[in-house]
Amino acid sequence: MSTLSSSSGKSFWQRYVHASHFRSAAEEFDAVKLGFWLFLTTEVLLFGGIFCAYFIFRTLYPDAWREGSHLLDWRLGGLNTAVLLISSYTMAMSIYCVQKGYFTRAKWNLFITLLCGAAFIFIKIAYEYIPKWSVGKRPGALFDYPFAEHAQLPLWWSVYYCGTSIHAAHVLIGMVLIARVLYRTHKGYYGPTHYTMVEVTGLYWHLVDLIWIFLFPLLYLIH
């Protein structure tokens, strides 16, 4: 709803006028943030279903879960955790830099965030999904791993693939949002008085991180 007046020489963010149904830009910012926090709540509840399935089957089949956990390499998961944590820092820094008007630094930070997102996906697919899938460690009826010790191991892989793939989809969506913010920062859309989308994208990226912070120990570390 950005209404842009036609005065020249100023960046978009300096000319930004809040949507007409809000009383002020501050009210608009508050409303967008409230709305986005509500949206993040829905995301938490969405993943809540996966976590719930994880805990129920863990209780029912602790041995299969232990076996499954041993089949995951904690170093790869740990590397991805580190990648995401770095990206969280750079994302937070980019918001700070836009607020302060350090646009070059903001863009570098956003770029590094984007790279980290890509690295996460690359590690996930190239070093985890493809090697596992090719030896038959697949979900449910597709399971074809000859060395399974417990009958419920396919179920473990179902929960693993559902949880991590839905999370990976969120990482991809987050990367699209970050790329958009990067482009628009370059074009001068955001600045110290108008950075709603940068902040909101940051919130989303932190949530994606946070979900991984829970997925990682549950899948890789707890035996």
Partner: protein, 598 residues
């Protein structure tokens, strides 16, 4: 149109296009269609939702009538192998399964369409979208583009459902229970389409709910504190919270179901170690709170319409407001009562006890409404008749919920027509009656046209009679042992089933009358007054139909929404409607806008 000339005059005066009626056409047919398709005006989106929902109501209604037609005669296989009494199915069939399959698809269609595409979005997305911002004195909802997106998402979801129907339909029941939804029908794509449809519709629901919560938090007009809001806003707020908190759970559930269906991941499949009851828990963790998404906005309409047409301060404003929140809170801890037969006795007993908690806030509302009516000056018209119909039917629906919540009686009644009758009394007798009350109440405001009051009242009476004939009989069928979802039955049930089918025809006649009344109103209705009923909420302070930005200036709220004993309604004209003499009660008459208009 008189408003038209006035509006174009205003355009010149203010140099903008925002002071004409929101229905004013911007140009030729294509321009108008484009204008509506890309609008971010909550009023137009509300109207588009209303028509989309009414269309789906028509589709779901056709399926319902088909179900009732099939049940008019029991299906019998005669000694020579011929089949009689089968309404749907091949004429020369020697196997009753063909017809039974059609029947299964019909009731699934009816349920899925009515629940996901009609009753869940019905009141909040249509009337809520239109009136919530106006009632709190805002120009629009907080996120207008998101609002438009939610309509398109709704349409997309509905298209998926229609595709599923065209491909042959789904026979899982509207709850998509596993293993029906994971194993029946080798032809996968139909079920996946229907499940994705419900998944997509969930997003529409979340977007609407999120928008309303933020709107109410941030966009109330000056002077409108939380307890100065009309009760409709409280009800929509409560249901919006449920929409935001419950819908994501059905999202992940249906996603897992789609994975299960496509990849056989086994989470709900006992052969692979999965648990079908887990699906039921997930499903009802959403779907039970959502029955309150269905009913709460309807209850909000009742509070609104009842106070205005009884011309009396609503009794127990805060009790009604908090009971909405109470229902929303309790709604999340009672889902287990849908699965009494698949849980431990202890869990069942706990859920049964928790279920009775729902009765408390609901009864609080009921008693407050009845006390409001007591010694008030009631105008009998179509909205009020529908309110009275709601009170009768919802009371029956609510009270018959108690034997279903009680473990010992539920053992006999579950999965019987008693359940069918119960939820039709609360869903149709509750939500649809409230929707009809709200549509008649706000129709003059939405479209600026009056409707034929007598014909609408006749329609209401016919719907009420038909409804009771259709569903009262089903309580008796249920207690006598008729199970739900069967295409045939024993001869003892024949008469009651026939009455029920006849009743459904009477409901059809009633709704056809309403359809005719509304179409006639749009085509040739006289121009509606600004405030035909004498309401005190903000929507009655603006023209009918409203201008594009709702208010010329941001309104300042100086009195409560129901201060009928101390405030005269805006544009008050004693000839238009009977208002009780304010001085009779001994209170001074504080005129809000003392000059009668025209």
């Amino acid at each position: 149109m008189a408003a038209h000339t006035h509006a174009s005059h205003a355009d010149h005066a203010h140099g903008g296009g925002h002071h004409g009626s929101y229905l004013e056409r911007k140009g030729g047919l294509l321009t108008t269609i484009w204008d509506w398709a890309t609008t971010v005006d909550h009023k137009k989106i509300g109207v588009m939702y209303l028509f989309a929902i009414l269309f789906m109501f028509f589709l779901g209604g056709v399926a319902a009538l088909a179900v009732r037609l099939e049940l008019f005669e029991p299906v019998r296989v005669l000694a020579d192998g011929k089949i009689t009494g089968q309404f749907f199915g091949p004429a020369d069939a020697t196997n009753i399964n063909a017809g039974n399959n059609i029947y299964n698809r019909l009731f699934t269609l009816h349920g899925a369409i009515m629940v996901f595409m009609v009753i869940v979005p019905s009141v909040p997305a249509s009337l809520g979208n239109f009136f919530l911002p106006i009632m709190i004195g805002a120009k629009d909802v907080a996120f207008p583009r998101l609002n438009l997106l939610s309509w398109y998402v709704y349409v997309l979801g509905s298209i998926f459902a229609v595709c599923s129907i065209i491909l042959g339909g789904v026979d899982t029941g509207w709850t998509f229970y596993t293993p029906y939804s994971t194993t029946t029908d080798a032809d996968h794509i139909k079920v996946v389409f229907m499940v994705l449809s419900a998944f997509i519709l969930g997003f529409s629901s979340i977007l609407t709910g999120l928008n309303f919560v933020v709107t109410i938090h941030k966009l109330r007009a000056p002077g409108m504190g939380w307890f100065d809001m009309p009760l409709f806003c409280w009800a929509v707020y409560s249901s919006a919270i449920i929409q935001v908190l419950a819908t994501p759970v059905i999202g992940i559930t249906l996603l897992l179901l789609a994975f299960e269906r496509i990849f056989r991941i086994g989470i709900f499949d006992p052969a692979l170690g999965g648990d079908p009851v887990l699906y039921q828990h997930f499903f009802w963790f959403y779907s039970h709170p959502v029955v309150y998404v269905m009913i709460l906005p309807g209850m909000g309409i009742i509070s609104e319409v009842l106070a205005v047409h009884a011309h009396k301060q609503i009794f127990g404003y805060r009790a009604i407001a908090f009971s909405s929140l109470g229902i929303a809170a309790v709604s999340f801890i009672v889902w287990g009562h849908h699965m009494f037969t698949s849980m431990s006795e202890l869990a069942s007993a706990v859920f049964s006890a928790l279920t009775f908690l729902v009765a408390i806030p609901t009864a609080v509302k009921m008693f407050n409404w009845i006390v409001t009516l007591y010694k008030s000056s009631i105008s009998i018209n179509a909205p009020m008749l529908y309110v009275l119909a709601f009170l009768f039917l919802f009371a029956i629906g609510g009270l018959t919920g108690l034997p279903l919540g009680t473990l010992s009686t539920d053992l006999h009644l579950h999965d019987s027509y008693f359940v069918v009758a119960h939820f039709h009394y609360v869903m149709m007798g509750g939500t649809i009656m409230a929707l009809m009350a709200g549509m008649h109440h706000w129709w003059p405001k939405m479209f600026g046209k009056a409707y034929n009051e007598k014909a609408a009242m006749l329609g209401c009476v016919i719907v009420f009679i038909g409804f009771n004939i259709t569903f009262m009989t089903q309580f008796f069928l249920g207690t006598q042992g008729m199970p739900r979802r069967y295409a045939s039955y024993i001869d003892e049930f024949h008469t009651l089933h026939q009455w029920s089918t006849i009743g459904s025809g009477i409901i059809l006649i009633g709704f056809l009358i309403h359809l005719f009344v509304f179409l006639a109103s749009l085509a040739v209705g006289r121009k509606a007054e600004q405030n035909p009923w004498g309401g005190l909420t903000l929507e009655w302070t603006i023209p009918s139909p409203p201008i594009e930005h709702n208010f010329e200036h941001e309104p300042i709220v100086k009195h409560g929404p129901y201060d009928f004993d101390s405030v005269l309604p805006p544009t008050w004209d004693p000839a238009d409607y009977p208002v009780p003499n304010p001085s009779a009660g001994g209170r001074p008459a504080v005129a809000h806008s003392p000059e009668p208009k025209d």
